[in-house]
Point group: C2
Chain length 789, copies 2
């Protein structure tokens, strides 16, 4: 096993063959013919379906839970409540950051939609009918919904005390803290922001908001628990984090990890919704209680109650000199985490430390608050908080540029954070193509070309924005490469292919090392008993982390292959090369990989097994300490340019062109990367233009895709394209870095900035629905100064 | 990955902790609570059940196959014939030694019961009904049934030409040979047998026979084919040889191995019946043709038509001096292979070269013939031909001893093959406890104690016998040991646990190396995509081969563990030791394995992955070449002593005591080894006393467990025990060698020799049913001289 924890430049001298090739995805044929495996399709013998009975109040004490009618319904196998769960697990609370979320509600409910009981039947419709027969009586308690109000609350608390998970040392000091809804208060000071403001010529200050939203993956959240006796369980789940599920369910049950097997298949989208524990603890507990396999698949409506994107309130304040230099910035961000922390505190912190934006600012003050409210839990969502912050800082930046009558792109370039300079955490920027991204965007947009501002009813405008993001650190990926007896090959890889094309990328990386055709390599999907550990498929970490692990594993296997081939060819292994499915000696003699194995094992038999483990040494910023020198293994940079047309009578905005430019390092598969960037942009377009959860006393009032509008094909801009800026992450596999989220960063402010460019109207809160734009246009007509700032 | 091909002594200096411990089997609780996974229980969504329509003639040309009525039966999904198979695979012939067996009959049938067509339905009963509606018309051809007659036949041939598989170089010369039923004629000459006979004072010559029999595993042969698109397939099968199934099905389909995934679960017994291809090619083809999962589970009756134990005729001739030294031996063995070779030619050859027995004989001549007949195919059966040969040579040896009025045990000891002496192949004996086994048996039997010969109607007698066996060579086993983030651990192992306790033994070996509790180690069952290659679970090879691979993999993982622990403890890794779940420094400081991993990966994450590959360099004796110096990685030696009571009026024989003594090297788990030996002895007791397939023109006439008697609890001797003789296989893991077959070797002749001791009657053909004994007693009364010789 090759282990590497201190990344060194690892790009090779020779030109690559498989890297940079747009080979079709390995699974495409299976997908279009409907043969792809999804957990949603899984049926096991004797399996029961579970339907969840949910809380109808936002905050309340459970006075009575009547399951008799449900239990007595013929065909109902069981009805399980929190009390049953507690009989199996005395403290059944889970969560990646805080152990605050019960498998089923115990004593209290904390949001409308919280799971309270489950009805089980072989017939899912019967289970649903039974769930509808369950009755609960609550003593309603005062509730908090707004993140700023909840943070300041002095008498209404979602939880009695904070229960940090213990896995993050920087949360330990919160243990047992009471009388607060603030799960985490992250702050960072870089030099002295107050002194910076004193030195500035201008001060700008604005507040921006984003609403709660949902991930809306095509495949709903689904999990199947399968008991293996009474001391082992298999969980089949559409999870982005099988390794975490294993560790957490093992912790809940008090079992060693090798008693819990977690496997996934392809995912029909994840976007962060399928991270950590969603249904997995519940189905595992149900399966162990009833001693039968149990499946729960959420309806689309139920997903609105399960996990959301954080609603945010962000206050931005900047001090700027007459020369257009930003010298101080203060940001305060409140994250509406809902009733259970999930990974929210990490969103608060990981995003928090970049809240000043990708700018070289001498004095920075950042405060970021993870806040409990009586709403559905918020968690990871593609971008991990960055789009909410970019919405704030890039709207804010644009306001400043326009106020100072500077070209918005030039203003950004003048203040941009360049390689060699320290970010607010003190980390020196490296391999981060901020300048190249802006340059590429400028060219791609033909930014300086004359524009048609429109006239009369239709006004045209153009906007840009740029965002950046650190990668989660430090995390581990481990991979195995197994060359079989006939020379065919498999990569064992814990990365979950949820549509992002990771299987193909990993096959290309292994193929590059082994001189094989990537289409000949099979990728073994996550199964925690056999595929090695991977922290999770999240935060654009897989290409970099798992890509490095796969590369190391392939190198390990290749070394063994060369030793075996060296014997067969009578040649120093160090002189051999791998190409075209063969191992070649310098004199041109060659053996196919299968022939090498046969020479070593004397028949079509045996394996050559390589393993690789990768963990960068970067450190997470601890509470209140902004001086860690290495905060991330790499930075992602994404910029967007948008052209819009605004209907001045209706407020309807049409995005006519959407251009994404990203620093993804070396591109492994250009077609996949381009689609990732465009896919991210379209997803964020929906969150920009229409998507928002609406609540009435904590009750979601638009919990269906009929009332909650995600982009359809007609919403996609006529002109949409993505481009990778020149870049190379020297510590990445063949120079690559992540690309999964970058497309989302800058879409919202680019469009809002374009609307402002078209209309002179500034909008501070997402989404930019026709009604919002219409009202802003009307307000500006009535009070032009206010909106011009 | 550690690779070792030249075994060196590897027993360690320190005393072992886990080796030699009778820990309960890891799976016992699951088994007694009915929770164990068997493929027989597997149901997949949309799965069809297949029922096989079989030939009713022993040899015939298929004139017409009418499947219309079956196809038109409502609920029948499809009826598949050989023609359909040929549309998918032009040459659908499989087999480990010869590519002679069609997936479904093509043009011809060659035995009664041969699969001709398959009816498929979601309802297995409907599929059976449909199969009964299929009609076939045959042109009957002359058939051959007896192995000696078939070998000599000049006009009736089962196959037109021989088609060796090509995997065994020593079979290549047979390619295309016509007009013969002899698939393989193995011969070996050691010095000059004819000259030896000339030097001898006495010549003895007898012919011994054994009948066809079945394995009668509790779990029937079963397989499920599951298509994954049109270019990949998963086969779930109760197979002893998942790696072979993968290679062979991939070859049939013309696919690389990584398109074929073969997985097994626990097996309810195997005994050789579940090796190579049984239903796997058929269900894979069916699944690909109908694009749905297909399951076929044989009934007990169908297993009589699927795979059998070779019936044999063995002629033994010995030249002996007055001093009681055997100086020459000639053996001829005819193996009734049935209509398809399966692994029969290997049985013929692997057993053939030991046909002279474990004796130090100067001049040896061996001929062994694998013969095609029009009977169900014969294949591997626990003992791999050895019990048939031991029946001959140990009956023969006993006759000689008694004729020369020598103590049978002393006569054997005087002639026994000792370490340092050459076996007939030229291989010098090493680490083989022949003398110790005889000594232990003598003590265990209290052989020299006075005996009660009985009187009147009940006569008592006592017999001994000894046999030996080489292990298949060269073969490969590969293993992975994966230590998870919490320090729990798994062994990935292609060995199939079919009741022999291999999971437990492998866990003990890994635990010994890693200082863990074996009960804390999980063993991952074979899945060819993830568990590494293993040649097969057969021939008592697993403890030695896979045991060595697991040991090497565990050492590889331990090395990584020590490097990580060395950093954490600030200690040279070379000074660390593993014990009690911890890694210990010489100064007594220690960390649990989980703590070491956390120290290295900074959280409960990551893996330490070790892999090990083991292949001894021993060579297989090639045709006609008895001079290979290393024929086997180790020898197994098994002796049995039996006390019997014979009812002189009815011929009924009661075995009152059955003692097994074996050389199994170091014992890993004494309780498991003892049960293996006793289990083997009871299985062979059935084959000795009652089991035999009866045929009428090729039709099995007793194809049910009502008519074919296997031992019940009342047939087990009142006194039965097993003992391991002192021994150590220095090249084995901690000194161990195989124990799966040894208990079967010597049971039959020990009992026959005891019957002779009791009655003076010698029986030459198995089984020793009351009728056979009765007839022999009556014949002896009428013609005493004939039977006394």
């Amino acid at each position: 096993m090759s282990t590497r924890v201190d990344p060194q430049p690892i790009t090779e001298d020779r030109p690559t063959v498989q890297i940079g090739r747009s080979i079709p995805r390995l699974e495409s044929l299976e997908k279009v013919t409907g043969e792809t495996e999804y957990i949603h399709h899984l049926r096991l013998p004797h399996m029961l379906y579970g339907k969840i009975f949910r809380s109808s109040v936002a905050h309340g004490r459970i006075l009575k839970l009547d399951t008799r009618a449900a239990r007595e319904l013929p065909g109902v196998a069981a009805v399980i409540t929190g009390a049953d769960v507690c009989a199996l697990i005395p403290e059944p609370y889970y969560g990646p950051a805080f152990h605050d979320q019960p498998v089923l509600a115990i004593d209290k409910v904390r949001y409308v939609g919280e799971p309270v009981a489950v009805a089980l039947s072989e017939d899912p419709h019967l289970a649903e009918h039974a769930a509808n027969l369950i009755e609960a009586e609550y003593e309603e308690l005062p509730a908090v919904f707004d993140e700023v109000e909840a943070a300041a609350a002095t008498d209404t608390f979602v939880h009695d005390a904070l229960k940090p998970a213990g896995t993050f040392p920087d949360l330990k000091h919160l243990q047992g803290r009471t009388k607060t809804n603030v799960a985490l208060d992250f702050s960072l000071r870089h030099n002295d922001a107050e002194r910076g403001f004193e030195q500035a010529d201008y001060i700008f200050e604005h507040v921006f908001r984003t609403p709660a939203a949902i991930h809306a993956a095509m495949e709903p959240i689904v999990a199947v628990g399968e008991p293996r006796g009474s001391s082992a369980v298999t969980i089949h789940t559409s999870s982005q984090s099988p390794s975490f599920v294993r560790t957490e369910v093992a912790r809940l049950l008090g079992w060693p990890e090798n008693h819990v097997r977690v496997r996934t298949a392809f995912l029909g989208g994840g976007f962060g919704a399928k991270l950590y524990i969603k249904l997995e603890a519940l189905v595992a507990v149900l399966a162990l209680l009833v001693k039968r396999p149990v499946k729960i698949a959420l309806t689309m409506e139920e997903q609105f109650y399960t996990i959301t994107k954080h609603a945010t309130t962000v206050r931005m304040k900047s001090g700027v000199t007459k020369a257009g230099k930003v010298v101080a910035r203060r940001c305060e961000a409140w994250w509406n985490g809902g009733a259970y922390a999930d990974i929210g505190p990490r969103v608060t912190q990981k995003s928090g430390f970049t809240a000043a934006g990708p700018y070289d600012i001498e004095n920075v003050s950042l405060d970021s608050y993870a806040v409990y409210t009586n709403l559905p839990p918020a968690g990871a969502f593609r971008g991990f908080g960055i789009p909410q912050l970019v919405w704030a800082y890039e709207s804010h930046t644009d306001i400043i540029a326009r106020e100072l009558e500077l070209d918005p792109l030039e203003f950004r370039r003048a203040n941009i954070l360049r390689n060699g300079r320290p970010q607010a955490t003190g980390t020196i920027m490296r391999d981060t193509a901020t300048v190249e991204v802006l340059d590429t965007l400028e060219r791609a947009m033909d930014w300086k070309a004359p524009r048609d501002p429109g006239d009369g009813n239709v006004r045209r405008g153009r906007g840009v924005a740029i965002g950046f993001k650190a990668c989660i650190a430090p995390t581990t990926s481990v991979a195995i490469v197994n060359i079989y007896g006939d020379g065919s090959c498999a990569v064992y890889c814990g990365t979950v292919d949820m549509g992002q094309g990771s299987d193909t990328a990993m096959a290309q990386i292994a193929a590059e090392v082994l001189g094989l055709d990537p289409r000949a390599i099979s990728v073994i999907h996550p199964d925690t008993d056999v595929t090695p550990y991977d922290m999770a498929t999240l935060g654009s970490r897989s290409t970099f982390h798992m890509g490095n692990a796969v590369r190391l594993a392939a190198l390990d296997a290749r070394e063994k292959l060369f030793i075996m081939a060296g014997k067969a060819l009578g040649c120093d292994p160090g002189l051999l090369s791998a190409a075209g499915g063969c191992v070649r000696a310098p004199d041109g003699r060659q053996l196919s990989v299968g022939e090498v194995i046969k020479s070593g094992f004397l028949m079509q038999a045996g394996n050559l097994i390589g393993s690789g483990s990768f963990r960068p040494t970067y450190t997470s910023p601890s509470h209140g300490d902004g001086q860690s020198s290495d905060i991330t293994p790499f930075w992602m940079v994404g910029a967007v340019g948008a052209d819009v047309e605004v209907d001045m009578e209706t407020g309807h905005v049409r995005v006519t062109r959407l251009v994404s430019v990203a620093d993804v390092g070396t591109v492994i598969n250009p077609a996949i990367v381009t689609r990732q960037l465009n896919g991210g942009a379209v997803m964020q377009l929906g969150l920009t233009m229409s998507e928002a959860l609406r609540f009435d006393h904590g009750q979601v009032t638009n919990a269906s895709l009929a009332d909650y509008k995600i982009p359809g094909i007609l919403d996609v801009p006529a002109e949409i394209f993505a481009e990778a800026a020149p870049g190379c992450q020297h510590s990445g596999p063949f120079g690559a870095k992540g690309a999964g989220e970058t497309g989302t960063f800058a879409v919202s402010p680019a469009i809002a900035n374009a609307i402002h460019d078209a209309t002179g109207v500034r909008i501070y809160d997402l989404p930019l629905t026709p009604e919002v734009v219409y009202r802003a246009l009307r307000a500006a007509q009535h009070n032009p100064l206010e909106n011009e700032l």
